[in-house]
Symmetry: C2
Amino acid sequence: MKVGIIGLGQMGSGMAASLLKAEQSVTVYNRSPAKAEPLARRGATVAASIADACKGDAVFTMLANDDAVAETVFSKGGLIDSLASGAVHISSSTISVALAGQLTDAHAHKGQLFVSAPVFGRPDVAASGQLAVVAAGTDAALDRARPFLEAIGQKLFIVSRTPRDANLIKLSGNFLIASVIESLGEALALIAKAGLDRRQYVEILTSTMFDAPVYKTYGALIAEARFEPAGFGAPLGQKDIRLALAAAEELGVAMPVANLLHDRFLRLIATGGASLDWSAIGAIAALDAGIRPGDGRRS
Amino acid sequence: MKVGIIGLGQMGSGMAASLLKAEQSVTVYNRSPAKAEPLARRGATVAASIADACKGDAVFTMLANDDAVAETVFSKGGLIDSLASGAVHISSSTISVALAGQLTDAHAHKGQLFVSAPVFGRPDVAASGQLAVVAAGTDAALDRARPFLEAIGQKLFIVSRTPRDANLIKLSGNFLIASVIESLGEALALIAKAGLDRRQYVEILTSTMFDAPVYKTYGALIAEARFEPAGFGAPLGQKDIRLALAAAEELGVAMPVANLLHDRFLRLIATGGASLDWSAIGAIAALDAGIRPGDGRRS
């Protein structure tokens, strides 16, 4: 089976590596071609254009935002122009529910298949093929996409026949992760200001009620104020909360914590945090409590 | 070893049962004596007064709030009057950091030992002896308390020599649980309003990034709108957030999510929810989105 992958950031590169490991015939494309080199050395074909990456049974897009996906799909020589009838576009980017709806309609109009398949997991998880994949699409589209989805993910959840439902689940999941980051940031500010050890506190949490990857990952990052290099950048977090709020507005759902998180991201980025990991919103409570980096252990 | 336990609500009764199972000599006291009967049948001695429950090596208090603990300890015939020099008061109630400080001073003044040992776990966990216990006190106090703490808990964390530190950790932990309830409530409102299945959504969460007891327990309660009978009542939740905010104010830590949660509890209780489980704040987002109970699965 032949598969293309467009977008070789940290996540896309990890997914391409998983597809190669699954012995698929993989063609990769990235706007700046240097990122394709490590994959070429592992057996990937490097496409010279988006159209060249669309010649197989399926093509993934894993891009930063709606604009990048829309350009890649709708521009001249993009996916709509290039994908064969019956081939499947698998959109793994975290995009808006609205764009997922437009992609569904546009591909259907051309007789192409479409699956929304956003993923949960940071870059190290993508590289090890252990992503959780949340997929939605018609039965025909999902049948075509399945071997590729199984290659990139350890777990595959088929949630609906309507692609945009998968995007809503992804956005709401990222909202939940950001909520964990913010609330952990507030709790850790309290613990540190009282002179207690933040790391022991995270150990207590994660060995009891909060024994989950999300608390382990973000508890450690916040307790150690380790926000560089960014595994998932602050502007991407801001975008995801904005898209969750856009979906919530369309559906008529008031989300007060999501609004609070949106303000946190605005502030983080406006005060110089654009290059940091999104978990840096978890440092704002400590900053506002007058805690300096390195405080937090009673002597 | 002889141990008393004062306060036989759902949590205190479970802890007393665990102490009996550990073959300790247990004396129980409750203001309304009917609650002592099931424990008497299992071998506990029923005390006629608080003083009678204070004649052993240790006495637990597991009461609803600061007022109940202060009355039990400081009233005539209370713990301060009754506990032998060298015996230990183990305070497992979720009380204010300020009251924990007062208890520490008052017991020290009388030559009595004091340990703050709040616990994590709902009543079923208490009944099975699997609580997580967070304890703080002097070495002498902790040595005396240890066999009893090990009898009620599966995990014991010694966090500091200053008792009130354990209370701060407990309060911040309950703040984190309430944050999970609120953010799950918002996410589930979004999922339900889009016509998707709330239970499948919780399954996806809890089999990936959110694979923790807190998401399983509260995800199920909120998805099924199952808020009665209350395992942990809304007024207790409101109290804990109020105490977390009081500690935060004393320490100078702004906690915007905690403020939002406090408003949620005010509203829940003001609109008739006082008898519900505290997880009922997780239904407010659905209510505000115009979702009726039973909605949430697309036909």
